[in-house]
């Protein structure tokens, strides 16, 4: 028997999202909706200074029993996330600071009360003596010989320094064009609409610490939490309820989770902590801050010869669990060359410890910065060569006939036609017509065209992560497919869906194999108690990994269904097919529902050789090659720039995305649109500045500017569909690509607009003030 492609709800269909019914009606269950009887709320006393010795903490009189400091957390271990990369320097993050704080917002004490407001009242009364120390608020200054050290015993402030030098150094002398740029990206806050939060209690019957947490990776949190609390892992259950966005912000073991878990066991009643926006902004601006020194060498015709890069990544104060402090910089070095083929490459990176919140990987991770860096250099070469930017790209992109292709940093590009992808957005924008309009616009409002092409490695497997030696290495992904006695299907997966629509797309995968209507499926996720172990939702891995695992489990389930169905039809199993919700034989068919009823309720009708494992299968999956899928996209946009006011308008935005086989094209478009919105934030709006003392500049969303509906233009999205040769349906991860392209494309467009007056902006975000500053400098 074979699984057959089934009716209209399977892979490839834009099925409406199952989960949207409860979301759109406001009937979801998010972390702050959970408040068991007897719950007490936490408020943390957080450091108001970036770097200080804590010389004394005084609990307010009468409240000693409900205030806890590091000294009270006996037996609780610090969070450590060591990388196995040579030279990595370890940090140790105490869940409540003891003796020293290293960033504003670091928790120093915690207060427990019946309500959050009362807990905040107590927190105000806690007196902490800080002896301030010089802060490292800039990553470049932090590498100075005499910079204050973040961690004791460190010889410099770099968690890790890396260097690669590939290819023949002398080829650089062949260059007719040498261009240099210094670029900087801003520190950002991911700002999911729902912040972090948790509700935890000790379950006396199961003898288990049960924690609801707004997390992307419940199993990883369980592993890390159990280690910090000294519990065996079976004594911890993590449940992620509905989660209102993650983007990486919730891909971490939190100090707050450890503190709350300890207090729940100690106090014997439920404990809750709901992060507020001020906490998340002042202590959670933790991503994207890079600095690049770049030199590109090219022939006169724009063909790239070599690229040299020195990249600093502001890694913040600690190495976070599980991703560590060096993931971002390691990515910079390995992915900077992108989809371009050239001869020689040098890259040095520094993951610099600073007195800022610890760095977390944000949607696209280093790629948003890297694409900005690489695509800026391509435009710089184009300008020197006197060529259209797309022409230079076409001369350097990996050609389709070279696929699969191992690039200069040994990244294995699985498939794709990058030049065609770029040509499609160039055609969509109509570059010649735009250039004609641009030539007319010689007044104070200038026009510009920018583009970017980049790849998105997704579903990284064991071979990618093992070398980094961080606490988490993905292996096989499992899924459980479990039939109910009335023919319904439960799919249990260890990943977590927090906006990606996986309750729908995983059901679509199962539907393609079994034909059970997706209305009769439940996708159970985000709960360590009932799902197989998983590293969780990150790196655009779920559709490839969990999708593959669901397909495998359903395929094995289909075999078992076929055997019972064949018996009921009195024919050979070789003569039946499973699909469309039934088992079909040569002379008739029997529904899967009847098969399920038979197995569970009328076992007397089963064949003697029935599989005793029943209609309940857990199966594992790994792609044929686990170096990751490579989806890719080209973005092109046009802008107007008012050189007097600094206003930027996005006039047109065209995207061509190749995510391989799309399980649900509507959801894929949604992923692209949401990502682009965040990318526009990176390009034009979002920046958490820190002053020389390490103080963050914003405590509310009035000061930290994120784009809203009015800032997102209509996006024209085109798709190519080059199946991955290695995955179950040819699907590729595409959760992050939308966020990667905009900074590069928009910055190139703005600088194209400013080129006519000799101005340029070399840092993100590109604000009105930065435009006007550049214009004034050019005119001076």
């Amino acid at each position: 028997m074979d699984g057959v492609q089934s009716n209209g709800e399977g892979v490839g269909r834009s099925v409406p999202r199952k989960e949207d019914d409860r979301y759109l009606r406001g009937r979801g269950l998010f972390i702050a909706d959970i408040r068991p009887q007897g719950t007490q709320d936490l408020a943390f006393v957080r450091a108001p200074v970036a770097h200080a010795r804590v010389t004394a903490i005084r609990k307010p009189a009468g409240f000693e029993h409900c205030v806890f400091t590091a000294a009270d957390l006996m037996g609780v271990l610090p969070i450590t996330a060591v990388s196995g990369l040579p030279g990595f320097k370890q940090s140790s993050q105490l869940v409540l600071a003891n003796g020293r704080v290293r960033h504003v917002g670091e928790a120093v004490a915690v207060c427990v009360a019946d309500t959050r407001a009362e807990a905040e009242d107590i927190a105000e009364l806690v007196e902490v003596d800080y002896e301030e120390m010089p802060a490292v608020s800039d990553m470049l200054a932090g590498m100075a010989v005499d910079a204050p050290r973040l961690h004791e015993g460190w010889t410099d402030n770099a968690f890790l320094s890396t260097r690669v030098d590939i290819g023949e150094a002398s080829v650089r002398t062949n260059a007719a064009i040498v261009v240099r740029r210094t670029l900087r990206t801003a520190r950002q806050h991911m700002a999911p609409i729902e912040g972090r939060g948790l509700v935890v209690q000790w379950d006396r019957r199961l003898e288990q610490l049960v924690m609801h947490s707004s997390t992307q990776m419940p199993h990883i949190v369980r592993t890390g939490l159990a280690e910090c609390l000294g519990l065996p892992q079976e004594a911890v259950r993590i449940i992620a309820p509905d989660v209102g966005g993650g983007f990486g912000y919730k891909g971490i073991l939190l100090p707050e989770e450890v503190v709350a878990g300890h207090l729940a066991m100690r106090l014997g009643h439920p404990i809750r902590w709901i992060e507020d926006r001020r906490e998340s902004l002042t202590g959670g601006a933790n991503c994207r801050e890079h600095h690049y020194e770049l030199t590109a060498y090219a022939h006169a015709d724009g063909r790239l010869i070599a690229l040299d890069c020195e990249a600093h990544v502001d890694a913040g104060a600690y190495s976070i669990y599980p991703f560590s402090a060096c993931l971002e910089a390691a990515q910079v070095a390995s992915i900077l060359p992108g989809p371009y083929d050239f001869e020689a490459y040098r890259c040095s990176t520094w993951s610099v410890a600073t007195n800022k919140p610890p760095i977390l990987p944000y949607r696209g991770v280093a790629r948003a910065g890297v694409a900005y860096a690489m695509e800026t250099m391509i435009d710089a070469i184009a300008r020197e060569a006197g060529l259209e930017p797309h022409e230079v790209r076409l001369r350097n992109l990996i050609p389709p006939e070279a696929m699969p292709f191992d690039n200069i940093t040994n990244k294995h590009f699985d498939s794709g036609d990058y030049p065609q992808c770029l040509r499609r957005v160039v055609d969509a924008i109509d570059v010649p017509a735009f250039r004609a309009r641009q030539r007319q616009a010689t007044g104070p409002v200038r026009l510009g065209l920018g583009m970017a092409i980049f790849c998105e490695q997704a579903a990284h497997g064991t071979s990618v992560y093992a070398g980094w030696g961080i606490p988490m290495v993905p292996g096989f992904e499992q899924a459980q497919a479990r039939m109910s006695p009335d023919g319904g299907l439960e799919l249990r997966v260890g990943i977590q869906s927090h906006g990606q629509g996986l309750e729908t797309t995983l059901a679509q995968v199962a539907h393609s194999i079994l034909g059970v209507p997706i209305a009769r499926m439940r996708v159970v996720h985000g709960d360590t108690g009932v799902t197989p172990y998983s590293t969780g939702t990150w790196g655009s891995r779920c559709m490839v990994m969990a999708g593959g695992a669901v397909a495998e489990a359903c395929t094995q389930l289909a075999h078992r269904i076929a055997r019972i169905g064949a018996h009921l039809l009195q024919c050979s199993v070789a003569d039946v097919v499973v699909g469309d919700g039934e088992v079909r034989g040569p002379t008739g068919s029997v529904s899967i529902e009847t098969v399920a009823r038979t197995f569970y309720l009328r076992p007397q009708d089963l064949p003697e050789d029935v599989d005793g494992g029943g209609l309940d299968v857990t199966a594992g999956y790994k792609p044929e090659r686990d170096s990751g899928t490579f989806s890719y996209a080209a973005h092109a946009c046009t802008v107007s720039v008012d050189t007097r006011s600094g206003e930027i308008k996005l006039l047109d935005y065209a995207i061509c995305e190749d995510g391989g086989v799309l399980v649900n094209p509507m959801i894929a478009d949604g992923q692209v649109i949401g990502g682009v919105a965040q990318g526009i934030g990176t390009a034009l709006y979002e920046e958490m500045a820190f002053d020389a003392f390490g103080q963050p500049s914003a405590a509310t969303l009035a000061d930290y500017s994120i784009p809203g509906a009015t800032e997102i233009p209509v996006l024209r999205i085109d798709h190519m569909e080059t199946p991955s040769p290695y995955t179950r349906f040819g699907q590729k991860g595409i959760g992050e690509g939308g966020a990667i392209g905009p900074p590069a494309a928009i910055a190139n467009a703005v600088n194209d607009a400013l080129a006519g007056i000799g101005a340029r902006v070399d840092r993100l975000p590109i604000t009105a003030a930065r435009i006007v500053t550049a214009v004034m400098a050019a005119r001076a």
Binding site: R116, E120, T710, E711, V772
Partner: protein, 250 residues
């Protein structure tokens, strides 16, 4: 981010409110769209809050041949929707439509906005250009001069803004208001409003860190604006002048 405990004293009428506000450590609350977040951030922590929008006398609007008078508790939404009298050409409605976003407009009030005196607030700059007068429980004060600094006004303890009187310019007037914001609905980083009538010309420049700068008569020009904006850094000044240039008559 929960407010510290406070007591609520709900007044029955204006004189009751004036009495309640006369004591120490009290704050009047109109729409609460700025005060609410400040309370939650514990940036302000009065012992008593006295809500004003329930007082009937603070609502309503009237117009005469030469002026429109709006109750202090008139919401931005009421103005934006045209539910109040307006100047010719819907001047007030258009200003109100650009304030923050609908949820804020539904509760935020014109009187509350002036009393809060945020330097970048829309009403403060536009009504200064329109030569409005603030009517309090004890006096009538021209808006020019009512605000003494960022978040500071002439109001004394227990004094309440009852209404705003906006003179009607003679038919055929020139009116322009422009603000530069990173996003629609955000507080502006540069703003200017200009009214020109047969009687003269008034230019108000806002979002400059204190009360709006008012120029009249011959001083109304780009050069005049540049002269009073010398305290800004060159980039901010350049952007602010662009806002000015967009409101000046051709």
């Amino acid at each position: 981010m929960k407010a510290a405990a406070f007591d609520l004293a709900v007044p029955e009428d204006i004189s009751d409110a004036a009495t309640l506000l006369a004591g120490e450590d009290r704050r009047a609350m109109a729409g609460g769209q700025s005060l609410g977040p400040m309370l939650n951030l514990r940036a302000t922590r009065p012992a008593w809050i006295v809500p004003l929008t329930g007082i009937a006398a603070l609502h309503g609007a009237e117009q005469t041949s030469d002026a429109i008078t709006l109750g202090a508790a008139t919401t931005h939404a009421a103005l934006a929707d045209g539910r109040t009298p307006d100047l010719e050409g819907g001047v007030l409605a258009r200003i109100a439509q650009g304030i923050a976003y609908r949820a804020v407009r539904n509760r935020g009030t014109i009187g509350g906005s002036l009393c809060h005196a945020d330097p970048a607030a829309d009403w403060l700059t536009t009504l200064t250009a329109l030569d409005a007068v603030v009517l309090t429980t004890t006096r009538a004060v021209p808006l020019e001069g009512f605000v003494t600094g960022a978040y500071r006004t002439l109001l004394v303890q227990g004094e309440i803004v009852r209404a705003i009187r906006i003179p009607k310019p003679a038919t055929g007037f020139h009116w322009r208001y422009h603000k530069l914001c990173r996003k629609p609905g955000e507080f502006a980083h540069a703003m200017a409003a200009c009214l020109a009538t047969t009687d003269g010309i008034r230019l108000a420049i806002g979002a400059v860190g204190g009360p709006p700068l008012l120029l009249t008569g011959d001083h109304v020009s780009l050069a005049g604006a540049e002269a009073v904006l010398g305290f800004l850094d060159p980039v901010d000044r350049c952007i602010q002048l662009e806002a000015v240039s967009r409101v000046l008559p051709a």
